[in-house]
């Protein structure tokens, strides 16, 4: 009897320490880069060009990261959610859905550098666009769509059938039921999907090297609103070196006395940006669900 109790306590302790170490690792990573970056940080680092002064800034690459993220989400989220609606509500069971699931898992496990090469062949070379934010976003969509679809499908499958039956019994059609019951209830799960895929977009370097480009960007001219002009930062056709790619680049080819400082600063910006996006999406998801369901809590 005593042994059983001991084992119980031991299991509790082990599980708590594993869970605790997850938090510790997160804190360690954040603390490491924030502490390393803090002495050299000035707000101008966020907006200045890389060539400014000695340390420079990440203004253009930060912009590019946000831009590529937004463009990728614009393509990935609707496609992923619609794909998930099909998988969860229409496909049923059978060979077709097995094949789709198998393909999903395969694409999801292709190394991102390979996805980058594929993206180069299709979105850079075959289209003749060159290195563009759009090519990067499309490569990242190839890479992220399976994950987004799977997470969204799980979120929809977690909605109890009782809710669907209630809707049908009130005379709603299947599409109305999906649109007004299943999707609103699934929002928290969908937001998790968005956050996980967005984190991969922000952090991804390999898939973007050959698609969005790795040139050191010059000054961005935000006054240029021509969406088809590759020199406009608003254009999907501009070359878009992102934070992660920039970090990879200065770390691998950078020389000079301040490379470490710039790398630490860039890493800190990257981490904080991911955190902000993460918390922001959660808040937005809650707001959205409250709006749709008409509730306060």
């Amino acid at each position: 009897m005593r042994r059983v109790l001991l084992a119980d306590q031991l299991a509790t302790a082990v599980l708590w320490s594993i869970a605790g170490s997850v938090i510790l690792i997160l804190i360690a990573i954040i603390a490491h880069f924030l502490l390393a970056a803090l002495p050299d940080f000035t707000p101008s680092f966020l907006i200045a060009d890389p060539s400014t002064d000695v340390i420079g800034g990440v203004g253009p690459v930060l912009w590019n990261s946000v831009y590529v993220l937004a463009l990728t989400m614009l393509v990935t989220v609707p496609l992923g959610v619609l794909g998930a609606v099909f998988m969860a509500e229409y496909a049923g069971t059978g060979r077709l859905i097995d094949l789709i699931r198998f393909s999903q898992e395969l694409i999801g496990s292709v190394p991102s550098i390979v996805v980058g090469l594929f993206g180069f062949a299709v979105f850079v070379a075959a289209t003749g666009w060159g290195f563009t934010a759009l090519a990067g976003a499309l490569a990242l969509t190839v890479f992220n769509l399976p994950l987004m679809t799977r997470l969204a499908e799980q979120a929809m499958r977690a909605v109890p059938d009782d809710e669907r039956s209630a809707s049908f019994a009130l005379g709603a059609t299947k599409w109305q039921t999906i649109r007004h019951v299943v999707l609103p209830i699934a929002i928290p799960g969908l937001v998790t999907g968005v956050i996980l895929t967005a984190g991969r977009v922000f952090g991804e370097a390999a898939a973007l090297l050959f698609t969005a480009g790795l040139a050191t960007p010059g000054r961005l001219n935000f006054a240029n609103l021509n969406l088809l002009d590759p020199r406009s930062p608003w254009s999907p056709f501009h070359t878009a070196t992102t934070l992660s790619v920039y970090l990879w680049r200065i770390n691998s080819e950078g020389t000079g006395p301040v490379v470490d400082q710039v790398a630490n600063l860039t890493a800190a910006v990257l981490i904080v940006a991911v955190l902000i996006f993460n918390l922001g999406s959660r808040a937005l998801g809650q707001l959205l669900q409250r709006r749709i369901t008409g509730t306060r809590s």
């Binding site: 809710e163 209630a166 049908f168 019994a169 007004h180 209830i185």
Partner: protein, 271 residues
């Protein structure tokens, strides 16, 4: 010269027939689940379905709003006529039928939305969008389901899931009333509720029957005796298919049934 009948026709049997069921048979794939159901359901009265578990009472109930359409492999044969119209005819849209025939589930299943949005759900899906019209139908339905007084202060914002089980079930009744049904199907609506909440639902059923035709499946024979005007007793045959043993005024089914099986069941000797 003929004598007047010695047993006066009961008031219930004079009510016009709302639903007429003939030779109903329901199967799942090749297995027959229910067979040989012939039944006339009178308007503005409560008809209770009783019988042992697995005899197909709920399955039959769900034929009346074609919810069985949603179960893969289920097929319904025979005739169900509602207000003179065959509900399984090719031209009938289940979506339309379900507005006319409401369903209350065994377990309260409000949407995780505000009380208001729950009740407004049906009307919104049927194209009502004006704020005033929605406000009106929500309030009327909540009042009719006898839950208005408990929620009137916060029904626009309060999440339906924060209500008690009994309140949730009355909310589900309000939500169903908001689609403007004529027939109400109730599938053991009190089985998840405590005795006090059950009593409130039973009172509500008695109020609603003046305007609606109600069919209720119940495991609780006292409940059938308390709320229903007519009772239909189903059981399982030797072929494992459910069938209708007999149907009649509730008083008669409970005190003087024609069939021995009914007598044994209502006396609590099996089931």
């Amino acid at each position: 010269m003929s004598y007047a009948p010695t047993i006066p026709a009961s008031a219930e049997s004079l009510a016009p027939t709302k639903i007429r069921v003939r030779d109903l048979r329901i199967s799942y794939d090749t297995r027959v689940a229910v067979r040989d159901v012939n039944l006339d359901v009178p308007e503005h009265a409560v008809t209770a379905f009783i019988g042992p578990s697995g005899c197909g009472k709920s399955t039959i109930l769900r034929c009346f709003d074609r919810m069985n359409d949603l179960i893969p492999g289920a097929s319904v044969h025979g005739s169900i006529v509602l207000d003179g119209e065959e509900i399984n005819a090719p031209g009938v849209q289940p979506v339309e039928l379900r507005r006319k025939v409401g369903l209350v589930f065994q377990k309260p299943n409000p949407f995780p939305m505000s009380i208001y949005e729950n009740v407004a759900y049906g009307p919104r899906r049927h194209g009502v969008s004006s704020r005033a019209a929605l406000d009106e139908v929500v309030e009327t339905s909540l009042r009719r389901a006898a839950i208005w007084d408990e929620v009137k202060d916060e029904y626009r914002r309060k999440n339906a899931l924060s209500l008690s089980g009994g309140q949730q079930q009355r909310l589900c009744i309000a939500r169903m009333l908001a689609t403007g049904p004529e027939v109400i199907l109730m599938d053991e609506p009190c089985s998840a509720l405590d005795p006090i909440a059950t009593l409130r639902i039973e009172q509500l059923i008695t109020e609603l029957k003046t305007q609606y035709t109600i069919l209720i499946v119940t495991h609780n024979m006292q409940q059938a005796a308390r709320v229903s005007d007519r009772t239909a007793f189903f059981t399982l045959g030797d072929d494992r298919a459910g069938y209708l043993v007999e149907e009649g005024p509730t008083r008669m089914i409970f005190t003087d049934p024609a069939n021995r099986l009914t007598e044994d069941y209502v006396a609590g000797r099996f089931g």
